[in-house]
């Protein structure tokens, strides 16, 4: 869209102030409860400077870095969906008077969010949720408004976690589109620079107010090197060629029984996943019974209630629930929304209390080939 420019730490601080002045609520990474989470940023001081995260299947820990990088972590338990598709929200209220019922829609949300520090995989996750809530035959107006109002400042990854596999999913580590601004952090001798590029008119306008200086070839190549490093560090992978057919042909594979023996059906994976969108509703009344409300809240296909039909749940076994989740993510999502439902962020791997790894589950089914059971589990029922 335009030539990349350079800002320094002061510029980054100014960017946050500028967004606030323009009426945005700036959301971004910050350290809280021993994790890097997304929350309101008052200033640059709220960023997790000098922190990183250590991740493995079933393992997450933050630790101090040797340097003072601002964006030297990967992804944490939060994702931006908590702002665009909130965990709990009221859909409408109703009043009952003399047998008459008045249904009052919720007035549309008007908060204008600026997201600072959106990773490439997360940009893809947002686009995927757009498909669900605004690109279908019906439109979720609340989501649409939040989305249209949101300003997105992406930050390219210059390191990856052992749980990442965005390269396999074609979703990173370099942010290619879907942002207003994209930053790449360049840190040399503890001196900070951010290579910045606009991806929209809004972004270009912001840049104009920041007074950046032009970037040199060498700045650009340093940034590129950082991103390359993130890609090269990536040790996890998933083969996506023909994955839909692979899973659909193996719905009765013995591996589902094996994974079900470990899975606690705790729903962590669905809560942390940036694309999981399922919700349920709660109907409440006050003590007089004349005032009723309907609330929507995140739900998970791992709960028993999720598939409840009068008389019992359709998916009563953990096996069927894990199978539903994984085949939805990696196979039926493609039919429904034209892309995979997984962006390779690795959150479900990290935050699974027993360390179940979606890439390993795919590989197990792939390696065993279709229809045949794994010999080691021969006698299992």
């Amino acid at each position: 869209m335009n030539a990349p420019v350079l800002i320094d730490t002061i510029g980054l601080g100014q960017l946050i102030k500028l967004l606030q002045k323009k009426g945005y609520q700036v959301m971004g990474p910050t350290v809280r409860d021993e994790a890097i989470v997304y929350d309101t940023l008052d200033s640059i001081n709220d960023l997790p400077q000098g922190w990183t995260d250590e991740q493995e299947a079933g393992h997450y820990r933050i630790k101090k870095r040797d340097d003072n990088a601002y964006f030297g972590y990967v992804v944490g338990p939060h994702s931006w969906k908590k702002y665009l598709h909130p965990p709990r929200r009221r859909l409408w209220r109703a009043e009952q008077k003399d047998g008459e019922v008045d249904i009052i829609p919720e007035s549309a949300e008007s908060t204008r969010f600026a997201f600072l520090g959106v990773r490439s995989c997360e940009l893809h996750a947002i686009t995927i949720q757009d498909e669900v809530f605004i690109k279908g035959p019906h439109v979720d107006n609340d989501y649409r408004l939040r989305r249209e109002n949101a300003l997105i400042i992406a930050v390219n990854c210059t390191q990856s976690a052992p749980t990442c596999f965005c390269v396999s999913m074609n979703t990173g580590p370099k942010a290619e589109s879907g942002y207003d601004l994209v930053l790449t952090e360049i840190l040399e001798n503890n001196i900070h620079h951010f290579l910045v590029q606009a991806g929209s008119e809004k972004g270009l306008e912001l840049l104009g107010e920041l007074d950046p200086r032009p970037a040199k070839e060498s700045d650009i190549s340093k940034a590129e090197k950082g991103i390359e490093q993130a890609a090269q560090q990536m040790s996890r992978s998933m083969k996506t060629d023909g994955i839909k057919e692979l899973l659909f042909e193996n719905l009765e594979h013995p591996r589902w029984d094996e994974v079900a023996e470990r899975c606690l059906s705790c729903a962590n994976c669905t809560m942390v996943c940036p694309t999981c969108f399922c919700s349920t509703v709660e109907d409440v009344t006050d003590i007089t019974g004349d005032h009723a409300e309907r609330w929507q809240r995140w739900d998970s296909c791992f709960t028993m209630d999720f598939s409840y039909l009068h008389g019992g749940s359709v998916r009563s076994s953990t096996k069927s629930r894990y199978r539903q989740w994984m085949t939805h993510k990696l196979a039926s999502w493609i039919d429904q929304f034209g892309s995979s439902g997984c962006v390779g962020c690795g959150r479900c791997v990290t935050w699974c209390p027993v360390g179940i790894d979606i890439t390993e589950e795919v590989r197990a089914i792939e390696n065993a080939g279709s229809k045949t059971s794994t010999p080691s589990q021969g006698g299992k029922e």
Binding site: G99, P105, V132, G136, H138, S279, D299
Partner: protein, 279 residues
């Protein structure tokens, strides 16, 4: 169809014009829109989300258009919390309604063919508007058969209409029950046993089936053995459903969302999952 205006998640107020008992546990609700009618068109097979004040919302098929065309009739079995609250409604009460949603029975596609309708229990409710549509332009269709099964004679719906369906429209209505005492003089046995007892040309027949999954499985099997092709068999699927517009994720059946891709499906499109458990 696009219901983005008004908000597809917000119910519209409807008034109970009439409520009556169909059987010991099943009743019908005639609902009329309050204020200007938004749309009273629907396609046979579609359903509405009915909201009982403060209790909850459930998917219920449209079982007929209201007499004067302004509103819809729903036939509901009282099985749990929300359906019970709907059962308690009285004439003049207000409830919330969203819809209609979902896919329809293949009425136009059946022109020039014989039609076999197979229903189990409450499954006749979503099929009744299909029957009405067939009867309304009777000459466009060949032989029409309704094979209807229920658990007991007292569970049978719409029995007072059968004579007119038979006499006036020449529909071959065959009824059976699983269990009955000696006062019952009709058939006892599963609904599939009646297939050989009605006339239809298997090579030119469209079949529409709604009932418990197990009943539909046997019905498909039997029809296939009689030579009806997979592309001419239509079934319905039921799953938990919270939003009816594809947002909540609850009603997924493999790649399909029952609320927008269903509830009526052409059999060959759901076949791979149809016989699997816990999908």
């Amino acid at each position: 169809m696009n219901f983005s205006e008004p908000d597809p998640m917000v119910p519209q107020p409807y008034k109970v014009r009439q409520i009556w008992q169909e059987t010991h546990d099943t009743f019908s609700l005639d609902l009329e829109p309050k204020g200007p009618s938004l749309h009273s068109e629907f396609a046979p097979g579609q359903f509405n989300m009915l909201y009982a004040f403060g209790v909850g919302e459930v998917p219920i098929s449209i079982s007929a258009c209201s007499k004067n065309g302004d509103g819809w009739i729903h036939t509901i079995r009282d099985v749990g919390t929300v359906t019970h609250a709907l059962h308690q409604l009285r004439e003049g009460d207000t409830i919330g309604l969203r819809g209609p949603f979902g896919s329809a029975w293949p009425i136009d596609e059946s022109k020039g063919s014989d039609v076999v309708i197979m229903a189990g229990g409450i499954g006749l409710a979503p099929l009744r508007p299909a029957l009405y549509a067939l009867m309304e332009s009777r000459k466009n269709f060949g032989d029409i058969a309704l094979l209807y099964g229920a658990r007991k004679p007292e569970d049978l719906l719409y029995t007072d209409e059968f004579e007119s369906w038979r006499g006036k429209y020449g529909v071959q209505v065959r009824v059976t029950v699983d269990n009955a005492d000696r006062t019952w003089s009709g058939n006892v046995g599963v609904v599939t046993t009646m297939i050989p007892r009605v006339n239809f040309d298997p090579l030119q027949t469209v079949a529409m089936i709604c009932g418990p999954e197990i009943m539909m499985r046997y019905a498909v099997l039997e029809l296939r053995q009689n030579g009806v092709s997979e592309e001419n068999i239509y079934v319905t699927m039921e799953r938990n459903m919270k939003c009816a517009v594809g947002f909540c994720g609850h009603c997924q059946f493999g790649p399909a969302f029952i609320c927008k891709d269903g509830p009526v499906f052409r059999y060959d499109r759901v076949k791979p999952l149809f016989s699997l458990r816990e999908v």
